[in-house]
């Protein structure tokens, strides 16, 4: 029996770094079924809910009052799938690392790449890029499908500089063009929102190392904290609410900045993006510090 490699000669320079890590992490991500299940859910939920909600809203147009007409937001209808996708990308982001802890394969990973920040960086790049591409494709697909559904109901585009007043007075369902002010940004930031959320779940995964714990905390941040905050009087709740991840998401996706039914005034879209990016950076950094300090 011979086990010697005939073809294996070590590269003269370099080390097991993050380009090799990215290749490896991509292989890992694409070779498990949970990834592809998530992809299907995100695309189907995104496009399907866009068609469904746009269809329902289109039917209601003629019966809507002035205020409802003013808040009629075809872009937001087309991105309804985000409410489901945000949990799916969270699970995907967390699983990338917690599945390694639950199976014990993290020890194999770390004994192949001794610099742990390299492992974290490679995983973050792969998760971030894959989810960004996936959710951007879904967001734009959902947008166009939603507008097609509205158009099929007799909807028309308004002049791109139309005021909210002309939307309220429009006899036909307003359809949004991607070139309308704010539309491209809203659809694009929808994908960015999902990507940043997945990175937050990813960082939580590194910190907690347990799938159930990480997903629970992630869902808690998205769903439970908003409920708890509503218990407080508006003077306390309002300034905090706009900084909750779910409301940052609303701000990023909203075409116009206006008061929503339940929250104080939202941040501007780019400010909201910045705040969410800071959250993601902090959580991933904490996860990375714990990864470096703790025994595997």
């Amino acid at each position: 029996m011979t086990v010697t490699a005939s073809t294996l000669s070590a590269p003269e320079s370099g080390r097991a770094g993050w380009t090799q890590g990215v290749r490896s992490e991509w292989t890992k991500l694409r070779s498990v079924r949970s990834t592809w299940v998530s992809v299907v859910i995100i695309v189907v939920a995104g496009v399907g809910l866009s068609a469904l909600v746009s269809n329902i809203e289109a039917g209601r147009w003629t019966t809507l009052g002035l205020v409802d007409r003013a808040q009629f937001d075809p872009v937001r209808f087309s991105q309804t799938g985000v409410f489901i996708s945000q949990f799916v990308v969270g699970v995907l982001g967390a699983l990338v690392i917690t599945s390694e802890y639950s199976t014990g394969s993290i020890r194999t990973t770390l004994s192949a790449v001794p610099h742990r920040t390299t492992v974290l960086a490679a995983k973050a790049v792969v998760v971030g890029v894959v989810i960004l591409v996936l959710s951007e494709v879904t967001a734009f697909l959902s947008f166009f499908v939603g507008q097609l559904v509205l158009t099929a109901h007799g909807g028309r585009g308004l002049p791109s500089n139309a005021s909210i007043l002309s939307q309220v007075r429009s006899p036909t369902i307003p359809v949004v063009s991607i070139t309308d002010p704010g539309a491209l940004r809203a659809v694009f930031l929808c994908g960015v929102y999902l990507t940043l959320l997945s990175l937050i779940a990813f960082g939580i995964g590194f910190a907690l190392r347990h799938t159930a714990g990480a997903i629970s905390l992630f869902v808690g941040v998205l769903l439970v904290i908003p409920l708890i905050i509503q218990i407080f009087p508006a003077s306390i709740a309002d300034p905090i609410e706009r900084f909750l991840p779910s409301n940052l998401g609303l701000a990023m996706i909203e075409v116009g900045t206006r008061k929503t039914d339940f929250a104080g005034v939202l941040l501007t879209p780019w400010a909201a993006t910045g705040v969410l990016a800071v959250y993601a950076t902090v959580v991933v950094t904490v996860g990375g510090l714990l990864l470096v300090r703790r025994d595997a």
Partner: protein
């Protein structure tokens, strides 16, 4: 060459490894023996930089693990056979590992061939039997064609054919001049496979020596003697300086006299002998004796209370 110097590691109040120093030389199989829970796996993790020692250091061919540029090409390890994603195919598991160290795909095919998993490489690793998982673990250790190999309990779950295969594999790896460090709690297995031994109990070093020296230096040669007149024979032998233990079935265990001297003494005293057989202590017995006070947990049947 693996060199551990003063390694210590505690988890909470439990001292898993306590001031452990040893050397593992290339070219032979070195057995790493200890009862379950004696710190073998912890030591393996410390060697691979997975856990940080509280004190001491360990080097591989003179370098610390964290300083290796292409770790898989320097040290290959099988820690836990089942520590892989159950939904990923064996091929993709090996490929993802190979990619971290810029090891070409062709080497993945090679190691699959070496361990005999080529046919089932596309199957999910979670569907593998423990024996197949062990082979996959060994394949991953061999990926980078490393000079140093660590195997934690590699024959667990293998059938006799698999055990023989691993034994042959370990010896041939060592024969190629590699450093091969194999942990086991099965002494009899190490007696067959290993040339050198590192023995620990409760995280402390008990012996760092060769298998042969280990047995001979820790056993007193004993001869089992049967005679129709055991009392007189015992008296005769004791007067010649022997240490005699009388058993219930009238046989005697004699130490400090060779079989020749015992036979001669019996002959000259006119005592008939029905049996005169040298007893070879097995590595198992030596090990049990040595580590009995270093075992954390005892079964309640068959063993005497430890003092």
């Amino acid at each position: 060459m693996i060199r551990a110097a003063g390694l210590s590691k505690s988890y909470g109040s439990t001292r898993a490894v306590d001031d452990l120093s040893f050397e593992v030389r290339p070219g032979v199989v070195t057995g790493f023996l200890g009862p379950n829970g004696s710190g073998k796996s912890t030591t393996m993790r410390l060697i691979l930089g997975l856990d940080r020692p509280d004190a001491g250091s360990v080097t591989l061919d003179g370098r610390r693990f964290h300083d290796l540029r292409w770790p898989l090409r320097e040290v290959g390890a099988l820690l836990e056979a089942k520590a892989l994603h159950p939904g990923r195919s064996a091929y993709n598991h090996l490929l993802s590992l190979a990619q971290t160290n810029a090891i070409p795909r062709s080497r993945v095919d090679q190691v699959l061939d070496i361990v005999g998993l080529t046919e089932v490489a596309g199957r999910k690793a979670g569907k593998y039997s423990l024996g197949m998982s062990q082979r996959l673990g060994i394949a991953s250790a061999l990926l980078g064609d490393p000079r140093v190999l660590l195997f934690d309990e590699p024959i667990n779950g293998l059938d006799p054919e698999g055990i023989l295969w691993v034994r042959t594999m370990l010896k041939s790896l060592a024969g190629e001049g590699r450093t091969v460090f194999v942990s086991s709690h099965l002494m009899s297995e190490m007696a067959l496979t290993a040339t050198d031994l590192v023995v620990i109990g409760r995280g402390r070093l008990i012996a760092d020596t060769s298998v042969d020296d280990f047995i001979s230096s820790h056993t007193e040669a004993t001869v089992l003697v049967r005679s129709p007149d055991p009392d007189r024979l015992a008296a005769v032998l004791e007067s010649s300086g022997a240490l005699v233990v009388r058993h219930d079935d009238a046989s005697l265990s004699v130490q400090k006299l060779t079989p020749d001297r015992i036979g001669d003494a019996a002959f000259s005293a006119g005592i008939p002998l029905h049996e005169l057989s040298p007893q070879q202590a097995s590595l198992e017995e030596v090990f049990m004796d040595l580590t009995s006070d270093a075992v954390d947990f005892h079964g309640s049947t068959g063993t005497e209370p430890v003092t």
